[in-house]
Assembly symmetry: C2
Homo-oligomer: 122 residues x 2
DNA sequence: CAGAATCCAGGCCGATACTG
DNA sequence: CAGTATCGGCCTGGATTCTG
């Protein structure tokens, strides 16, 4: 399972936003994190909240978030198995960014989609 | 030149952060935008600020930002040619997010790199 | 200077099947 | 339920060359 490294910017030191992009800029990471703000979620629960993703991608992105100390993985030894993902206290420091991203999305989504419609005739 | 579409999330409507990720989540977009905050920049000037990118990628990402109405492209008819990129007023609405991303990066970069070091021995 | 066009390797990521 | 393993298509994106 060596795949999707998401190593994005060699010259991280030069650009202070680079490391942040590297941590939350994965294909699904911001969405995963946003969904975790409201509380811990089980694996399939996250999958249901993000129908467009696959179990594979969900796993890979969660593993990277775990390695970066953003997300905690709690395993309950039960039958059937139960695993809960939650934000670590370090992950919580990303909440302001996630909230701003949510607000911007809510505010300007229509405008973006409109601009894209208009530039379709190229 | 049909390439690098960066179309990321089909179920945009379900997740308010999705559209934001779609707009600034490209490989270089946040870095480009951050570099434009301090004022308009010429094409090669941006290239010099981000040595790890190629002209090709820079062009592609700038075009997408242009289509989304985030970046303005001003062409000066001179010899040699001069093109300046700047944030539109719409693009300026992203500044709070970019600032937070910069702040987070400056604050926690070392911590992230450390966590990655530690999880190397897997 | 500011790109566009073409080529093409490598890797992202979806699909599918399998496991404890 | 919560994953892992493997295969393979196709897209990403680097290198190079060419233009106004």
């Amino acid at each position: 399972m060596k795949d999707v490294k998401t190593e994005k910017c060699p010259d991280t030191q030069a650009c202070p936003v680079a490391i942040t992009v590297d941590v939350i800029g994965g294909k699904w990471k911001a969405k995963i994190l946003y969904n975790l703000i409201s509380g811990p979620k089980r694996f399939n629960e996250l999958g249901r909240l993000m129908p467009a993703t696959t179990k594979r991608m969900l796993t890979l992105q969660l593993r990277e978030l775990e390695q970066d100390g953003i997300v905690h993985r709690e395993i309950y030894r039960e039958i059937p198995p139960k695993v809960e993902y939650s934000l670590t206290s370090f992950g919580e420091t990303l909440k302001p960014i996630l909230y701003l991203m949510r607000d911007w999305g809510e505010m300007y989504e229509k405008e973006v989609l409109l601009k894209r419609k208009n530039s379709e005739n190229v």
